[in-house]
Symmetry: C3
Subunit: 112 residues, 3 copies
């Protein structure tokens, strides 16, 4: 089992969610976050003054998934969230030791 964390543009959430259903990926947790990447945010000018906005609004998805689905889920997120411009986001994959479904007490792959 793996934990896939994706930080995406908020306006891409709907498309990512729908396309994940198409590949059989249902469960997910969504958190509103802010973030910066390598470019440290953006510069904007407003009424002739320059502002540096460091942390931009992003959407964080957390998905726990069985190993055999990881590549399909990553591909789906990349394809659905990509615009080609800087700031499209990141995906992180972490190892998971165990999963428990609270309703039934089931554990491991069948609890995912």
């Amino acid at each position: 089992m793996k934990a896939i964390t994706a930080i995406i543009r908020p306006e891409k959430l709907e498309k990512v969610k729908n396309n994940l259903v198409e590949v059989g990926c249902y469960g997910m947790t969504v958190t509103e976050v802010k973030g910066r990447g390598r470019q440290l945010g953006i510069r904007e000018s407003y009424r002739g003054k320059e502002y540096h906005i460091d942390l931009l609004p992003k959407t964080r998805l957390d998905i726990i998934i069985n190993d055999d689905k990881v590549e399909e889920v990553v591909d789906t997120i990349v394809k659905s969230a990509q615009t080609g411009d800087i700031g499209d986001g990141k995906i992180f994959i972490l190892p998971v030791d165990d999963v428990i479904r609270i309703r039934t007490g089931e554990r491991g792959e069948k609890a995912v």
Copy 2:
């Protein structure tokens, strides 16, 4: 050391927190999130129309704990958060390499 992430019903937070204290589990981080499980949210009707609510409000708990406490903490969360209806939530256990207490610089098990 392990990272236990639990996604629970918001109305169960108080009970989960109190019961964790009883088993000596104090530190935790709480985040307001939204999520969907295998059933992809719920259908509701309002004034004769059907609505599909995809992401429901949930509460995320993050608890870093020493290995010998993991089973007791998982049991306590399951017992405190369970209603028996779908949507009771999930628990994920991830491996942790190290912990640091910022005030003292302590590391490892004694920093948990």
Copy 3:
């Protein structure tokens, strides 16, 4: 690659962010959270009555970083976020299997 999660005092975010740039650590994700440590929050009195505030506002930073930078990043967060009073926060280090930059599809260390 490692995932560094730091829970800090919200008023320390600005200093931590700036000092991380100094050591070449740019990308990060920031989440507003609440938490308690070993002391289970604080007791406050207001108009002669005592209140127990269990969960205090904290700021969560998530930073994915290559292994050779971990110690420098941890040191920088500790030095920037420390006041010496209880409640300064915690840092957790978790192993990471893979990272993907969504814009380019790059993977691994160069995607961090």
